[in-house]
């Protein structure tokens, strides 16, 4: 590759011009510069990893990690979480019938009620998630099957969506808005929560604002032509094949929550990393008074069962969870910290022994007295 690097000096023709003299003596000395860099003598720190020198590091890591781990573990344990599986796999489960008789094309929705009991009250804000299992939102083709420009309100993309959306790009000659497989498979179960006191159902207020990333809602997702008159804006487009309503009518209750900026839609479009995932559905806000957000007692989850999961052996869940500074309930991180910290500490002890056995001998041998 590096042809002619040094050979040039030998190239006969280099001293080609006549009268240039072919003598061996050059005027300028070829002596290399005696600089620290060229002579590879830059001042350097040369750590040697031996038991003696790294002992403290192990103990320090151990001493830092174990408390962090304990803190995380405790925090995680303080998070209250409740999970309801409403897939309806068992014949005994309330949604069994809905699950069995599903078809994407049915116009009427099947509803079922899942009763459950909260043993403990949930104090602060409660986040209501829907969870899906075995749903590979991270499938390569699925992840790609969207048009971000279209979702960003780009008019040309609205009329002519990206090829990535195939085969959910055009429907009956009209461009699909929003196009692609992700949008097409939008989770469309409706979940409502009722608090049951003395057999009377009190609906629990579910807030649907603020469930999506702020940046998604305000920057990434935009309706074409602003938020006025979505019906006109989406004129000439077709709804996704599996949808029952066009995108402009996703949320009949709140006109601000329609079109591409529908938060449920935005949440769904952020494809989950793992096949078992949850997605934020609603937030139950902490009450102003001192009563718990969700008091202990009996509840009923009213499901309008639209979303099929049998085709992939999936499960549908509803999760009620409080969150902490570190997010949802997950004891893993705390345990991992404690484990790693303990291992470090243990290694520190081992090294201490080794240090006594070997390092001392070496050190004394190193230095001739």
């Amino acid at each position: 590759m590096a042809s002619g690097y040094n050979a040039k000096e030998e190239d006969g023709h280099h001293s080609g011009a006549p009268g240039n003299g072919g003598g061996a003596g050059a005027v300028k000395s070829k002596k290399p510069d005696n600089t620290a860099f060229k002579q590879q003598r830059l001042p350097a720190w040369q750590p040697i990893l031996t038991a003696g020198t790294v002992l403290p590091a192990f103990f320090v890591i151990g001493l830092i990690f174990i408390p962090i781990g304990i803190g995380l573990f405790v925090t995680s344990n303080n998070i209250k979480e409740f999970e309801i599986d409403y897939t309806g796999v068992d014949a005994s489960s309330p949604c069994y019938n809905c699950a069995r008789n599903f078809s994407w094309n049915s116009t009427s929705s099947c509803t079922c009620s899942v009763p459950f009991t909260l043993e403990q009250p949930f104090e602060s804000n409660v986040f209501m998630y829907y969870g899906l299992s075995n749903f590979y939102q991270n499938h390569r083709r699925y992840v790609k099957s969207r048009d971000d420009s279209q979702l960003n309100g780009d008019q040309t993309s609205l009329k002519s969506p990206s090829k990535e959306c195939e085969p959910y790009r055009m429907s009956d000659g009209l461009p699909i808005a929003p196009c692609g497989a992700i949008a097409n498979s939008l989770f469309n179960d409706t979940l409502e929560l009722y608090y049951v006191v003395n057999n009377s159902k009190t609906p629990v207020t579910l807030v649907k604002k603020g469930i999506a990333w702020w940046t998604d809602k305000h920057v990434k997702f935009r309706n074409p032509g602003g938020n006025n008159n979505l019906t006109v804006a989406f004129q000439g487009t077709s709804k996704p094949v599996n949808w029952r309503t066009p995108v402009s009518e996703l949320d009949p209750t709140d006109p601000e929550n329609n079109g591409f900026i529908n938060e449920d839609f935005i949440v769904w479009m952020r494809t989950a990393a793992l096949p078992t995932f949850r997605k934020l559905y609603r937030i139950i806000q902490k009450k102003a008074d001192l009563t718990p957000t969700l008091a202990s007692g009996r509840y009923v989850l009213e499901v309008s069962y639209n979303y099929p999961v049998r085709s992939f052996d999936g499960r549908k869940r509803v999760i009620l969870s409080t969150i902490s500074w570190m997010g949802g309930k997950n004891p893993f991180l705390g345990i991992a910290y404690i484990t790693v910290g303990s291992v470090c500490f243990f290694l520190g002890v081992v090294l201490l022994i080794i240090h006594h056995k070997y390092d001392n001998r070496n050190n004394s041998a190193d230095i001739p007295n």
């Binding site: 006969g12 699925y142 190193d366």
Partner: protein, 1302 residues
């Protein structure tokens, strides 16, 4: 397909001559065809650059795609454009290959541009070419020169193509050329006009040249040319190299030259020789390629897992789920087809596993390593003003793995500055004691002399230079060299002239011998046949030395001395001024003594400056008698070999001064002052097989034909006349016997011996022989053989005159270097053409052999004894236990073997035995070996033992060996540049080998080995993240990291730190490496780059990738995290892990390392933050908008990063700590040593070394002086004696252990 000149074809067609010999080329003058000729010849000189800037890109790309790695990469990129299998955006996949191709193209382009610039200059150089229309030589350019043209040149012009010399202005038909551009040899060489073509004196007319030139096909042999010229009358005249002017040579001292172009442009010998830097594949690279292959296998395995996994996953789905996206027609492929496609998708996804960027990185690192090596001030030599040259750019790391060093002796271990020491004439020895004393004194130049030297010449030189400027314009371009520029005392003032340092030039005559000559001169009436006279005559003329003068540089003395003096007194002045400087210091040292020995004092001062010189002349023993005004000093002898120069100078010291040499005559001034012009009838030049040369002259007085022969004693002794047969030659017998004893004596002292003989040839014998000779010369095939045979024919029945002993002194620090190399676990072999006695002596002197060594001498005449001897020796040697390195520890065995025996043992049936024996010997000395045997030995050892071999030599006879070895090192010394041209590295002195191997070799090797392993690790660790993710995305080939980041991660974020690591890491300092040569052993054999090392790294990479994947995985399991948010901590953690992993590996942190690593992290975060902030909808699937910002606001992210990094690096860190503590490698021990205070460390190293010295040299006892010291220390303080054992004891250094445990 052999190239045929269109003209030749045309000529063939015209004359109806078919193709006879394929390997011959028939050329005719272009002139008759000048109208036909449309220029079909490769007339440009450097078609390598023929492509224009416009064409550069396609041509360069074409060349680049010859590399399989690039093809693989492009294949991947193309694969990515196939919709069913693509994993990335197709454009993204193009980035890496584009970056790599662009980088390479940039580099190639720059190099090409440099070449283009120089080529343009050369192509445009003017020259004179004969053109028919003009009927004269017309100014033209080099690029217009075609084969078959006639080119005319003047003095000091450079030859534009390989020319057959047809005419010169010289009456003798000779032309002198300087070949320093080609081979660095600065002496003038004679070229002769093709004989019998016409009268040499008349003006040459190209139009009258109707001969047919038949020559061999272009080849790269600079010293060989086969050709004959067929005259119109069908007479064939043989032409050899002596009539060929090679392109690049410079015409000297000849006003006008006309030549016929036989090879032009690329076909010239110099261009064919100049194939650019050599590309060798280093052992490390071979190992690397093996591991790349492993990676390919790994990649395929992983892709197979992906494909099979995808199939299983798809098959297990009960029906079609909503997340399975059908193709645009709405159909889903069958699981098996999907799985098939998935295999290719996986290849694209995991392609980084094959470290393509590694190749580019390695090249960058090697360029930097070469830069550091060439810039090492310790490897700079003042004398030759040269740095070490790295001619092969890609085997720097091989320097760190050398196990066998094969060294030439002359010029490599020794200075190759031949000094005449003593001689024997007619059986009487002349010891030259004064000369020996002078040499001893001259050895120690001291500063006073230097000052003197610098001051004096300036006064005298200035007028000399102005004069030169007036005299010849050619000198104008040469910058004046003030004495002050040269710092070294010896050999520099006449730096332009080979072999002429005062050391070599000045010989103090032996009193007795001088008297003998004087006596003869005045007592003997028939002095012209006196053996002493003959001896010195032989000394003076039996050579190929060309005489020139110091002043008119390169102005050949073509006339008799009287005429040559016509240049005037000023000339003399300047020359004297120039020389006085160097003489003065000689004077200062030995004048007092030489005065005592001087016989006569006679001033012949031309001016006050020459006063001093004549002083010296007196010292040099100018005998009584009239002398033609001390002008002889201006004569410079330009010899092809230093021996010749030494002999000529010796002869001069006795008054036999060689004054001039032309092809036909040689002029010698005798002690009494008269000059003798001897007609030279023939010169039988030296060749390696005959090992002798002869000159056949006609004595001007007696008109006898005399053959003077000089050569190695063993070849000469065989050729002596049969003394027993004739009573008359009884004297000869004793002379021969005495001479043989003396010669043996010389050899034992380490002197090079040459015998001189004389033979009277009768006219008849001569005429018979000359016919034979002519036939041989004209032969086309096997010409060399014929010529050699013809020479042998004449060289017999010789009469011995005497012999000389020439000293070739050891170079500085040679013993130290050899000891260091041996301590470094390198077996040193010396291969020499010298006699065994000489070689053994030198071997002792340079500590290749020690007193206590058991020396096995193998010398046998026939194969049978050779076989039995070999078997016996082997049997005996096998009884000794073998050390851990396969070398016998006690006692040390050395093998001395001569060329003939070597030839036998190298035959296939004995080879294995010999190799086993040699393996058990600590040092091997091969004497009287031919160049071919040298390379055969190297090849046998290299192939049989699979070891890294290094050959070092300085002369043309070492070229074979240098090329055969894994690493060839040339010493740019006295014998021209041929060895250097063939070498991979060129150094000035043998002692530089020590630092080159021990320090640079070690560094280059460890750096590169570590970097390569790190690269593999890095790629595997990173790519595996993607692989593990496949288990959670249905093996669908999803990447959870933005494609851009995926590509950039390898290309930018983590590429510079390892490259820096490969360039700058320094495990042990140079001082320690030099102080403890044993450390070198760590690199030998497979060294640090072991297969196990590689696999441990791969396993570590697997572990780290598992940690880096699964800690975040479990952390985020079941949460609402999205694909690319999940990928962010993985990517970040990978970066931290990979960089911190490197930090563990870095042995020496400099500012550069710190900046590069911190910089990488900074660049990573800054670019990604910027990318995530501004990229709202770009790069569709990944949607990077605000992801990192969100993550960085989340404490979990930071906690995950911290935990994962610690957990990932914990095993490696612990492993390093444990190994360094429990069983530290020698390198770690050395590093610990470096932490001690400088003086303590020095003391420690010295102490340890002295013990080593005792251990290595001692064996049975005795040993070097150091051994005793070491023992004393060991006995006195037990603590101290124990210390070396603990640090450096384990296996790598067996001798020390055995020493201390006793």
């Amino acid at each position: 397909m052999p190239w045929r000149s269109p003209l030749a074809l045309l000529r063939d067609a015209v004359r109806g001559i078919g193709e006879r010999q394929k390997d011959l080329r028939v050329l005719v003058s272009n002139l008759p065809y000048s109208e036909l000729d449309a220029g079909g010849r490769p007339n440009r000189f450097f078609p390598g650059n023929a492509y224009t800037p416009l064409l550069f890109l396609p041509v360069n790309l074409y060349e680049q795609f010859h590399r399989w790695a690039n093809v693989y990469f492009v294949g991947l990129a193309v694969l990515n454009f196939v919709p069913v299998v693509n994993a990335f955006q197709p454009e993204v996949a193009l980035i890496p290959i584009c970056v790599i191709l662009a980088l390479t193209a940039l580099k190639d382009g720059w190099e090409d541009f440099q070449r283009y610039k120089s080529d343009r200059k050369v192509n445009g150089t003017p020259c004179l070419v004969y053109r028919r229309p003009d009927k004269r030589f017309v100014a033209s350019r080099w690029m217009d020169v075609k084969v078959g043209d006639f080119v005319s040149m003047g003095s000091n012009e450079i030859v534009p193509a390989d020319l057959l010399l047809l005419h010169t202005s010289d009456p003798h038909g000779v032309c002198l050329i300087e070949t320093s551009n080609l081979d660095g040899e600065t002496n003038l060489k004679q070229r002769r006009v093709v004989s019998n073509l016409g009268s040499p004196t008349s003006e040459f007319d190209p139009e009258n040249f109707h001969c047919l030139v038949v020559c061999e096909r272009p080849n790269n042999n600079l010293n060989h040319f086969k050709c004959y010229v067929e005259k119109p009358d069908k007479e064939k005249v043989g032409v050899g190299i002596e009539s060929l002017l090679l392109r690049g040579c410079k015409v000297r001292n000849t006003e006008h030259v006309v030549g016929f172009v036989v090879y032009a442009g690329r076909e010239t010998k110099s261009m064919l020789n100049n194939s650019g830097p050599r590309y060798k594949r280093s052992r490390l690279e071979r190992a690397l390629n093996r591991d790349v292959l492993f990676c390919v296998v790994l990649l395929f395995a992983m892709c197979l897992v992906g494909a099979v996994g995808h199939f299983i996953w798809l098959s297990s789905l009960p029906s079609i789920p909503p997340y399975l996206v059908p193709d645009s027609q709405g159909y889903l492929e069958s699981p098996s087809l999907s799985a098939f496609y998935m295999f290719f998708t996986m290849i694209i996804l995991l392609q980084v596993l094959i470290p393509i960027s590694l190749y580019v990185s390695i090249e960058l690192v090697k360029i930097a390593q070469v830069f550091f090596i060439t810039n090492d001030v310790d490897l700079y030599d003042e004398d030759c003003d040269g740095r070490v040259q790295c001619r092969a750019l890609n085997i720097t790391e091989d320097l760190g793995q050398v196990e066998y060093v094969f060294s030439d002796k002359t010029g490599t271990l020794t200075e190759n500055k031949m000094v005449f020491r003593r001689c024997t004439v007619m059986g009487t020895e002349y010891a030259h004691k004064e000369n020996a004393i002078r040499l001893a004194v001259i050895d120690e130049p001291d500063s006073d002399e230097e000052v003197l030297f610098h001051q004096r010449p300036r006064q005298g030189r200035q007028p000399g230079w102005t004069l030169d400027l007036e005299e010849s314009g050619s000198e104008a371009a040469q910058p004046p060299r003030a004495g002050g520029h040269r710092s070294k005392v010896a050999g520099c003032a006449e730096g332009d002239v080979a072999f002429s340092s005062p050391l070599e030039k000045e010989v103090v005559p032996d009193k007795a011998l001088l008297q003998q000559i004087v006596k003869i001169d005045y007592s003997s009436g028939k002095r012209m046949v006196d053996p002493y006279l003959d001896f010195f005559l032989a000394l003076a003329i039996c050579n190929t030395v060309v005489v020139s003068t110091a002043t008119a540089q390169r102005q050949r003395v073509s006339q008799l001395p009287g005429a040559s003096l016509s240049s005037g007194p000023l000339d003399t002045l300047s020359s004297l001024a120039k020389k006085v400087g160097s003489l003065r210091q000689t004077l200062a040292s030995w004048q007092p003594m030489s005065r005592r020995g001087s016989l006569a004092s006679e001033g012949s001062a031309a001016d006050d400056e020459s006063d001093k010189t004549s002083d010296r002349d007196r010292g040099a023993g100018a005998p009584k008698g009239p002398r033609p005004a001390g002008r002889s000093d201006e004569l410079l002898f330009e010899a092809e070999s230093p021996d010749e120069a030494a002999l000529v100078y010796a002869a001069k010291a006795y008054g036999f001064t060689l004054l001039a040499r032309t092809p036909a005559s040689v002029t010698v001034r005798l002690p009494r002052g008269e000059t003798l012009v001897l007609e030279v009838l023939d010169t039988l030049s030296f060749d390696a097989n005959r090992k002798r040369m002869s000159v056949l002259v006609r004595h001007p007085v007696t008109r006898q034909l005399v053959l003077y022969t000089k050569g190695a004693d063993y070849t000469i002794m065989e050729l002596l006349g049969t003394p027993y047969a004739e009573q008359l030659k009884g004297n000869q017998k004793s002379v021969a016997a005495n001479c043989q004893t003396h010669v043996d004596q010389y050899a034992k002292e380490g002197l090079r011996t040459l015998c001189f003989t004389k033979k009277l040839v009768s006219e008849k014998e001569y005429s018979d022989w000359s016919t034979l000779r002519r036939e041989a010369m004209a032969a086309m095939d096997n010409r060399e053989e014929f010529i050699r045979d013809s020479a042998v024919h004449l060289e017999r029945d010789l009469t011995l005159l005497g012999a000389t002993g020439i000293e070739d002194r050891l170079q500085e620090s040679v013993p130290d270097t050899i000891v260091a190399l041996r301590e470094a676990g390198i077996q040193v072999w010396v291969l020499t053409g010298d006699k065994p006695e000489t070689a053994v002596n030198i071997a002792y002197a340079c500590r290749l052999l020690d007193e206590g060594d058991m020396v096995i001498n193998m010398s046998s005449k026939d194969k049978l004894t050779c076989t039995s001897m070999l078997d016996c020796t082997l049997e005996a040697v096998r009884r000794y236990p073998r050390g851990p390195n396969g070398m016998v520890t006690d006692p040390t065995i050395a093998l001395v073997i001569d060329g003939r025996t070597l030839g036998m043992v190298l035959e296939s049936d004995l080879q294995a035995h010999f190799v086993e024996l040699a393996q058990r010997c600590r040092s091997v000395l091969c004497c009287r070996v031919t160049p071919l045997q040298k390379s055969a030995v190297v090849k046998v050892i290299r192939d049989r033992l699979k070891v890294m071999t290094l050959a070092i030599g300085d002369g043309a006879n070492d070229v074979n060996m240098i090329q055969a070895a894994d690493v060839g090192i040339g010493i740019s010394g006295q014998e021209g540049m041929q060895a250097v041209m063939a070498s991979d590295f060129a150094i000035c002195r043998f002692k530089h080998l020590r630092k080159l191997l021990l320090v640079h070799g070690h560094w280059c090797y460890t750096r590169l080995a570590n970097m390569i392993v790190y690269f593999f690790y890095k790629n595997v660790a990173y790519v595996n993240l993607l692989f593990w993710y496949q288990f959670f995305c249905g093996f669908s080939g999803t990447a959870m990291i933005d494609y851009w980041l995926l590509i950039f991660f390898n290309l930018f974020y983590t590429s510079i730190p390892p490259i820096m690591f490969g360039i700058m890491d320094r495990d042990v300092s140079a001082e320690t490496l030099l102080g403890l040569p044993e450390l070198y052993r760590t690199g030998q054999g497979t060294g640090e780059y072991k297969a196990s090392f590689f696999w441990v790294s791969i396993l570590d990479a697997f572990y780290q990738s598992l940690v880096c994947f699964f800690i975040p995985y479990w952390t985020y399991q079941g949460s609402d995290i999205d694909v690319f948010t999940f990928g962010t901590p993985l990517n970040t953690v990978s970066l931290f892990t990979i960089l911190l992993h490197l930090s563990i590996e870095i042995k020496a942190w400099t500012v550069v390392h710190l900046v590069v690593i911190l910089g990488s992290v900074m660049v990573f975060f800054l670019t990604i933050l910027a990318y995530n902030a501004f990229c709202v909808t770009c790069n569709p699937p990944s949607n990077p908008y605000w992801i990192l910002q969100n993550q960085m606001a989340d404490p979990t992210f930071h906690l995950v990063c911290l935990l994962t990094t610690v957990a990932a690096l914990l095993p490696r860190y612990t492993f390093h700590v444990l190994r360094n503590t429990i069983d530290p490698s020698p390198l770690v021990r050395a590093r610990k040593l470096e932490r001690l205070d400088a003086d303590v460390r020095q003391q420690w190293i010295e102490e340890w070394r002295s013990m080593r010295g005792g251990g290595a040299g001692g064996g049975g006892g005795g040993g070097g002086g150091g051994g005793g010291g070491g023992d004393a220390v060991g006995g006195g303080e037990s603590g101290r004696s124990a210390s070396p054992v603990h640090i450096l004891d384990p296996s790598p250094f067996p001798p020390s252990r055995s020493d201390t445990h006793v």
